[in-house]
Amino acid sequence: MTGTVLLLRAFLRRDRWLYLWWGLGVALLYVSQAWSVDGLYTTQEEFDRAAANMAGNKALIAMAGPARALNTTGGQVTWQAAAFGAVCAGLMSMFVIGRHTRAEEESGRDELLRAAPVGRYAPACAALMDAVLANLVLGALVAGSLAAYGLALADSVGLGLGLSVTGWFFSATALVAVQLTASTRAAYGIAGAVIGVAYVLRAVGDVGAQALSWLSPIGWYQAMHAFSGLRWWPLLVPLVLTVVVVAVARAVFDRRDFGSGVVADRPGPARASGALGTGWGLALRLQRPALLGWAIGLLLSGLSFGAMGDSVGDLVGDSSLSQQMMLQGSADVVDGFYATLSVMLALLAAGFSVSSALRPRSEEDGGRLEPLLATALPRAGWLGGHVAVTLVGTLLVLALAGLGLGTSYALVTGDGGAMLRLALPAMTFAPAVLVLSGLARLLYGVVPRAAPLAWAALLLAWVVLLFGDVFDLPQWLQDLSPFEHLALVPLQDFSVAPFAAVSVVAALLSVVGQFAFLRRDVH
């Protein structure tokens, strides 16, 4: 244990920004629910109606948690934020543990450290203490911000502390995960899967099989019933189990060698498959895991959006704020709502599109481009492969998002004819999505260092969509978002001219970027 305190101090120094951003982000997740609920409903009657509607919607319950006291601000905050907050705390804990243990071991820096007078358990111990502190900060920020907003103090503290303890449990499971595999990525996979299973178990449990929720750390957190008859004893479950799981991690640690895991890195194929021999084949192989992840994520998002069915009017409420945000000010509630959701899905898909367009940059930065361009692969062929993956991948994730939306809407409402009508709109925003990734491509070709600025353009499009009318943003600013120029299908009829015009802009951005890349130095 020698050196634990010294290491902890070094870790805290490395992590202070991480603490701040995760803490602020998660606290905002909680307190923004209070703010939005109080903004959405102008009368208690209206609130009661919406709450009754939500409580009867199994899909929403599966997504968020057991419906309790939904006609109160605190009840809404707990319902909407607790499950996602717990997932966030779990992810943060996983990264804190992973980066100070397995990642250090994998990079070889840990070896340097262990040659110094530092105890065997010191790095793991310091990492665990670091994660415990990080989760305390997270919980304190949540409790503090809710109490400051004016919600009941005891319940706010309960919601915050419950979040901390849930994070501690996920820190312990992450500590086991990093003992199991030699690669940090694989360890993140295992720790992430634990969080995912916890989320799914409580989803199934909350909808029907109650007992399952008691197998989930997120279920224990929600069993505290904050803002609806707060009880403290469910905290004991994760507290005790955290100690047990840490003991398991220690036992595994004692049985493995330095630098290796319990599960050995599986050997791969000795020969490349036939597809791996062209620019396109390589780009697809490299981007496939990310594409798969985004495709599943977008399909699930579409499914959960569509599950809100046709009773959206009550969900949205009567306040002008929410009407402007969610319906783009239209009177046709269902179509306006789903037009907005389709744009949201397209903006999520733009996350894939932009990150995919930035992949060539990380390849170049990682020094993996040079050996490729030293072969007969032309520059245009290398970049063209990535462009093709971005293009095809973007259309694919959009199609899946729309498919999810239409399918679950049709299932919830029993209106089979609505399926196509709601599945197609997401695709109509493809040109705007491609403008964003085209911008990333242009920047990559001309000033590669500035390429991540394309994320700022995506953020701007989000802000314009949600707050453009609410804050009455100037027209020229709104016009910067490519989504503003397309017809809001299904609220408006599909219109060919703007679709074609935005497509041309997207193509121009991408093509100019590619030509610029052909003419510049490669590093």
Binding site: P267, G268, A374, A376
Partner: protein, 294 residues
């Protein structure tokens, strides 16, 4: 000429490599060796001047020319989730095909496991992946940028054998290296560059001529005026034993003078490549004050 912002990386570099030779490319870190190779690969475009590669323009005809060459960087970065075998196949296919028999033979000789993922290889093993991919392809030119910096001595010997074989087939190699013994062993001609400029080029024998030879002689009587002979310095006389350093071109006159004193034994040490190298960089070592130029 090639500049990165205000920094001039290549400054009137004049380098030519003849077909069928192994050409050593020496210079300290930051002298412009890698920049030169990147220009030859068409990754960088020169600001002024001309580069020709295999009779073509390395920038304009990059992809076509690359069918005829293979490149091994000093710092090999692999894709973390592709195996070594997959990378060898990928690079080989992109170059236009691999010699299957050589691929297998090289994997054996370099004792490389092709089923490991890129993130699992050590630095030396990553370099072996790039070396196997380069040597197994049917090319006429190898561009090697410090290709053995991570290899153990056994593997370095394998590497030398492979380069010898490659040359014996009439092919050409440009080898940038810090390992002077490797260059002395492998290279027909050597170029030394400094601050983006070629300061010396020629065969090792020619270059040796440009520097000094140290001579130690046991004499019956020590002749007068040795230190006054042209090109002689550091004369040290201890009874009948003389030690001196002389410019290699002036060796003749010194030997004549020594003979008049009745030679009993004579030892002379030709300059090593290290001496050549230090001759051009010695001033920098002295200026930094912490180096030992001996």
């Amino acid at each position: 000429m090639k500049s990165f912002g205000p920094h001039r990386a290549l400054d009137g570099l004049d380098l030519s490599v003849a077909r069928g030779e192994v050409h050593g490319f020496l210079g300290p870190n930051g002298a412009g060796k890698s920049t030169t190779i990147r220009v030859l690969l068409g990754l960088l475009r020169v600001d002024s001047g001309e580069a020709r590669l295999l009779g073509g323009d390395p920038w304009r005809d990059a992809a076509e020319l690359h069918r005829r060459l293979a490149y091994v960087p000093g710092d090999v970065n692999l894709w973390p989730n592709l195996t070594g075998g997959e990378v060898i196949d990928l690079l080989g296919r992109l170059r236009g095909g691999l010699d299957e028999r050589r691929r297998k033979e090289l994997l054996d000789r370099f004792e490389l496991d092709p089923t490991k993922k890129g993130r699992g290889y050590s630095k030396g093993n990553r370099q072996k992946v790039a070396l196997v991919a380069a040597l197994a392809s049917d090319v006429e030119l190898l561009l090697l940028d410090e290709p053995t910096s991570g290899l153990d001595p056994l593997m370095e010997a394998v590497f030398r054998d492979c380069v010898d074989e490659f040359r014996s087939e009439g092919h050409t190699v440009l080898l940038s290296s810090h390992i002077l013994a490797e260059v002395e062993h492998l290279c027909d001609r050597v170029s030394i560059i400094r601050a983006g400029r070629c300061v010396e080029t020629g065969t090792l024998a020619e270059l040796r001529h440009l520097t000094s030879t140290s001579v130690t002689a046991d004499l019956v009587t020590v002749p007068e005026g040795l230190e006054r002979l042209p090109g002689v310095h550091d004369v040290d006389i201890d009874n009948h034993r003389v030690h001196l350093v002389v410019d290699t071109t002036r060796l003749d006159a010194v030997l004549d003078a020594l003979q008049t004193g009745g030679l009993r034994s004579l030892e002379s040490q030709p300059p090593t490549l290290e001496d050549l190298f230090l001759r051009h960089y010695g001033d920098r070592l002295r200026a930094s004050g912490d180096g030992d130029p001996g």
